[in-house]
Subunit: 404 residues, 2 copies
């Protein structure tokens, strides 16, 4: 891995914008990590528990995935940090030699765990797996991520639910700033980039306040957290739009939890470089497959005898090898191969989309690419989408973090 | 595929014994099919519904699998024969270009379906999926298998449960013979080999009677059916031993439903050429992994931090790539990748075992290989095994044929 290169970049910087769209905020960049360079815009598939569900590392590479997301909360609880220390960190554990970003666990503690107590010092919570009690501090979260060995690590943040009052979110913003500072002070590793997270819920003033406070600490990258939690999309983009002016142009910008095709395009056009979301892989396991026109439901009877692949324009293994009919059959039978083939397809779709975006920015045609895509792609109805998201957030499958 | 070669073999024969062990009945052979030659002894992984659960065809090839087993009953019910006809047969449907054997559905009708009526003409049953009523005759079963396009197809047999009375099994033996004759008469394809199935339960006289009747029809291969259904192993081998003298030496012999390492070795030493069983893949999904010493339970806490692979001697993708600790983690989390990696390991173990058997017969060392293996391999306790088998046969997972 390019440790030498990193040495050079360390003196200069880890991120370089190579091209900017003249009509939008879209841009191309290169993010240098200890396990290789990531060209941006990039999408990070979610591997919370050290596996992009159903896939092996070789498949991720074939798909074109360049960087993945692990989760400190999940891995801390299972297999435990002692196990990961003994086994040489997350890269070796899951046999992925490319870049990894680990989330700090902030969001998961507030969404999955049973929260016991939050103080300025840190957070006490009960595991969603066995109810055991745990304390985390900003310092400990940095140490845990050091053991995991990810290339990009995140500060511990407080992430209130979308319905939280302004007073509560204000408190969270202030605590998130204090924690970010403590994380930064405790961060020693020269091979790990520590990104700051901006909070502020759906309150523009608090988003601004958080952006000012976090950027004043001068991190090598910034994430916008606490969005895509069930709020209307207009609000999401209003919050992103209000935050972007405060983010330095020479640092990577990461919009957490966003990953539908239309949202990636919208995010890129606002200057976002990195995205992560479980959506493409989760809906794949439900039989919802991306095409350039819409998400199709492969379980539908019309696919039972369809000889063509799911998407005739797709170059993924699934579409190159199998008919839509075969996918329909596997889903009807609830065969495990169904989830794998669908995951390959959706991840390839999203990865290919980021490649198409890259080409369009390179050629100066991003605005028309964006328009063409959004004109032909049938977006899920907003009311249906919010209802689905709420249903998902409240579902036992999400609450218990089950594998399907 | 070697259609030309098949032409030559058709005139001569489809099976050739190339070497016989001087001390046991073990032998090496070559079985020529329309999709390639299968060297025997061979093990057929089960792909009842057109998928070896969790795996893609390329992985099966990497593992060394040469022939797989599909099931007429499952595929007839779902996706339906019309769909498979439209899609060009099972090979194309599942993208497997090697040899396929399809079972006739006899066993499944008597074990999975709700049996409505059985007459000399055929069988009426209700689907285990939706309760719909269906009629199958020996002739129809041949036609269905012709559409599926397998390289080896099976006669329709009546397969009573192990507890059935001698009178009931006698009736089944007679009906199985009549049906075999009708299957043979109706069988036209020159590219499909039709194998006869011998029944007779646990009654030596009936096994003999069935063997004499079925072999008198002169099929290109013979299967021993109706065993490994929960009877003590002594009885299984007594029935196999009593049947073998009636089977012509120049035809392949297939022991249905047998697939544990020790049973494959025992079967080979009695002259069996082909085996199939869901056991290696099913127990893999339970976390039971083969090693040369025993089945280990990868869920056990001792594996949480084990850096070595599951089996240091194994050359499978799983053992080459991941620690036992990672497998333990995936199983604890019920991650879908667990089932895939475990399936790869167990199938490679069994495939490698058949290759080791082949080498031993080739070198004239099969008896010592057999002794060494059986001496070091800890076989599941017989009482525990029978209890497990009964539990499995009665489980909703089996009855409903669910994917896990």
């Amino acid at each position: 891995m390019p440790a030498k290169n990193l040495g050079v970049w360390e003196i200069e910087r880890h991120f370089k914008v190579s091209k900017t769209c003249p009509d939008t905020q879209a841009r191309l960049g290169g993010l240098v990590t200890n396990h290789g360079v990531v060209t941006t815009p990039a999408f990070l598939p979610v591997a919370s528990r050290g596996t992009v569900r159903t896939l092996i590392p070789e498949e991720l590479k074939d798909i074109g995935v360049t960087i993945i997301l692990g989760n400190t909360y999940h891995l801390y609880l299972r297999p435990g940090i002692d196990a990961l220390a003994k086994l040489g960190g997350l890269h070796r554990y899951m046999a992925w030699d490319g870049p990894i970003l680990t989330d700090s666990g902030g969001y998961q503690i507030f969404s999955l765990a049973r929260l016991c107590k939050i103080t300025d010092d840190g957070v006490t919570f009960r595991s969603h797996i066995d109810g055991s009690e745990h304390d985390l501090t900003p310092e400990l979260v940095i140490e845990l991520q050091q053991v995991l060995g990810a290339d990009i690590i995140m500060t511990l943040d407080e992430c209130p639910a979308i319905g939280a009052s302004m007073a509560k979110v204000c408190e969270a913003v202030e605590r998130t700033s204090q924690w970010a500072e403590r994380c930064q002070k405790h961060h020693q590793s020269s091979t790990q980039l520590l990104f700051g997270i901006i909070q502020g819920g759906i309150y523009p003033e608090l988003r601004q306040q958080s952006a000012r406070a976090i950027t004043s600490l001068d991190f090598p990258g910034y994430a916008i957290g606490g969005l895509s939690l069930g709020e209307p999309k207009e609000l999401t983009w209003a919050m992103v739009g209000g935050t972007m002016p405060f983010l330095p142009v020479d640092k990577p910008r990461y919009l957490m939890g966003v990953g539908s095709p239309e949202d990636i395009i919208e995010g890129v056009s606002r200057g976002i470089d990195l995205f992560d979301s479980a959506l493409p892989t989760r809906i794949a396991r439900n039989g919802a497959l991306f095409t350039m026109r819409e998400r199709i439901n492969i379980r539908k009877a019309i696919y039972r005898t369809k000889e063509q692949p799911v998407d005739a324009d797709c170059d993924c293994y699934t579409c190159r090898t199998f008919s839509a009919a075969y996918l329909n059959h596997l889903f009807k039978c609830e065969e495990l191969l169904a989830y794998r083939l669908a995951t390959i397809h959706n991840l390839r779709f999203i990865t290919r989309l980021t490649q198409q975006i890259e080409n369009a920015i390179q050629r100066g045609t991003f605005p028309s690419f964006k328009n063409d895509f959004l004109n032909q792609y049938k977006v899920t109805d907003e009311e249906v989408r919010i209802a689905q998201k709420q249903k998902w957030l409240n579902s036992p499958r999400h609450r218990n973090n089950t594998a399907l």
